[in-house]
Symmetry: C2
Subunit: 343 residues, 2 copies
DNA sequence: TTGCTTTACGAAAACGTGGTAGTGTTGAAA
DNA sequence: TTTCAACACTACCACGTTTTCGTAAAGCAA
């Protein structure tokens, strides 16, 4: 139950000053070899490690990155964290994670909590509620205090900062185009309510692909779902009417639910119904049939976001208050992973 | 680009002492009402918030919890984090997460990094490599420094500390018993290499259930897998021989792979092959057929672990160095979730 | 005036660290 | 003998906060 040893204690024990101890441990030439080695040996014996908090206070940098995401039990987000953590670790940073639970208030609270010195910078993805409200004052505030923020995936144009996104529109376009190429004409889009920025963009890509191929855009084929559990009814009704022969779903949960519903009704996938999902997750890979998806490498996004943030942090350090805020938006490439749910 | 305001700056601006500002903001009666209100107004205007790092240094507590887990892109672990975060948040704690990547060295490194003042206590699950090596010095060390540790799921008897586990043996027993009850006689166990503590326990439960029902324990029906990708071959060979009519898999990835393999061979699940998996995750729920599982509520484990840790942290605070280390091990209940993969 | 209490505030220490600027001693060159 | 440099070390400050202790000023009784 011995508390961690401090410079002061070592100093007292060896009857030298704190400075001497500190310098000895940092191998300063100011200290004579004899004393230096004695201190080092003593410190090693007691397993001295400098206190991070004291260092943070002194250096005004914590070497940790705050991550704020809507949820963590979520394949995409956890891969992003994984990606962030890899790069952070390489550079000696820790990550502290807060969950907004898709709530605006929690997002604000968490940001305020972390912004008071706990971290050097943020990597975040907006909560649904925040996107809905369009209130970003908490983020602006943090940025104004000189704390760098990198946003990913669920971003907003209302905030100027570094961003990492995928080209949702182009990716959706590619997916829908591939359905069209395989002869599908009645393509449904199963999406979320559209205030979530990415949902909107994917819808745009869907629409553009249809129009570019001379297929009329039919409002009835856009199925907006907020709750997965209720979607089955809607889907089965439409399937019953044979209203569509292909589906582009904005996430894999929707896709697998649709496939299950179709199977129950005796429809064959992909023969009777082709399915493509956004976000390549674990479900798509292991479901039966496995699902063709648009890959969206969370890991790469995380890597990139962390790199951008750390780069800014280290640069800031050098030239103090130089205001060269040339924010960039990185676009991570996507590609179609063909599996059994399409032909 | 204005930096966060500090007590000192407020003091200077209002021409009072730092102490006066501090006391005013904490509504101390020592300070006259006029001054107090003036300071409060000023602080509010400039959105003063005390610096967490300084507070941590002074109070010798960081109000954050370190979590060390093998991986994060993993349903079970992310639900645990979710559970921890809920409780932590309620009590004003943040969580900082480090990934050991199932590597001993990374686990040690991460623990050392966090142990130097960054956090108040640990919640962790051992990496495979650590379990294999049986080297727990890094954990002992942390505990000896008076930092509380709560282990969950992958624990060890070699360390004395609070633990949260499920009764792996009983749960496995229940699962196998239910297969026996439905008339299965040749039950295979698909497991990982057995130095991982939980794999061992589940095997024990499997064996006991068989023996209790007068079914001979057949070594050949225990299939040990380290890499998911290679298991398909082994499985298909055994299935071909009709060596078993039921499978108890220690995780859902194994289960779904087995089902896929069986389906390819024309076997019907559950008619020809019944399957039960450990760990109720997203795959089991959404695969076709959906998989009967032993629920293992990560969220509850996280809740419990966080509660135990925080309780210890707050207690410690009161009575300083009282050494009442009555460590407990909480067992989270499991239950069988019946789905389509069994009859 | 003296002595005492109350009010209202300030000084300083402490948490642990690291860097800058000394300080005193020794030895050697001028 | 003086002066200067090298050596080996210490003092002190700052980071931002809280808290303990101290004290000046004011009020009041004797």
């Amino acid at each position: 139950m011995k508390r961690k040893i401090t410079l002061k204690q070592i100093a007292k024990e060896l009857d030298v000053s704190i400075s001497t101890v500190s310098k000895s441990l940092r191998n300063s030439l100011e200290i004579g070899e004899e004393t230096r080695l004695k201190v080092q040996a003593f410190a090693k014996f007691y397993n001295y490690k400098p206190n991070n908090i004291a260092l943070s206070l002194k250096n005004r940098k914590t070497k940790s990155i705050g991550i704020i995401i809507p949820e963590i039990v979520h394949y995409f987000f956890s891969t992003v964290i994984n990606g962030i953590e890899q790069v952070a670790n390489e550079h000696g940073y820790s990550v502290v994670i807060c969950l907004s639970d898709d709530s605006f208030d929690k997002e604000v609270l968490n940001m305020e909590m972390l912004a008071n010195g706990s971290i050097d910078g943020f990597i975040m993805s907006l909560s649904k509620e925040t996107q809905f409200k369009g209130d970003f004052h908490h983020i602006t505030e943090v940025i104004n205090q000189g704390m760098p923020v990198v946003m990913f995936d669920r971003v907003t144009n209302d905030i100027l900062c570094d961003k990492v996104i995928i080209d949702d529109k182009a990716a959706a376009y590619e997916a829908v185009q591939s359905l069209i190429d395989s002869g599908r004409k009645k393509i449904a889009l199963v999406t979320t309510v559209d205030y979530v920025s990415v949902g909107k963009l994917r819808t745009d890509g869907y629409e553009k692909a249809l129009l570019d191929n001379g297929i009329p855009f039919n409002e009835d084929l856009i199925i907006k779902i907020e709750d997965v559990d209720t979607c089955e009814i809607t889907i089965s009704q439409l399937l019953h009417d044979r209203a569509f022969d292909a589906v582009f779903a904005v996430n894999e949960l929707f896709a697998v639910t649709i496939i299950k519903t179709a199977s129950k009704m005796g429809l064959k996938v992909p023969e009777d119904l082709a399915v493509i999902a956004f976000t390549d997750g674990i479900i798509s890979k292991y479901s039966t049939p496995s699902i063709t998806t648009v890959s969206q490498s969370g890991e790469k996004m995380g890597n990139k976001a962390a790199k951008m943030l750390i780069e800014r942090l280290e640069a800031e350090h050098d030239d103090d208050e130089e205001e060269n805020e040339n924010y960039t938006t990185e676009v991570i490439e996507t590609h179609l992973i063909k599996r059994e749910s399409t032909d």
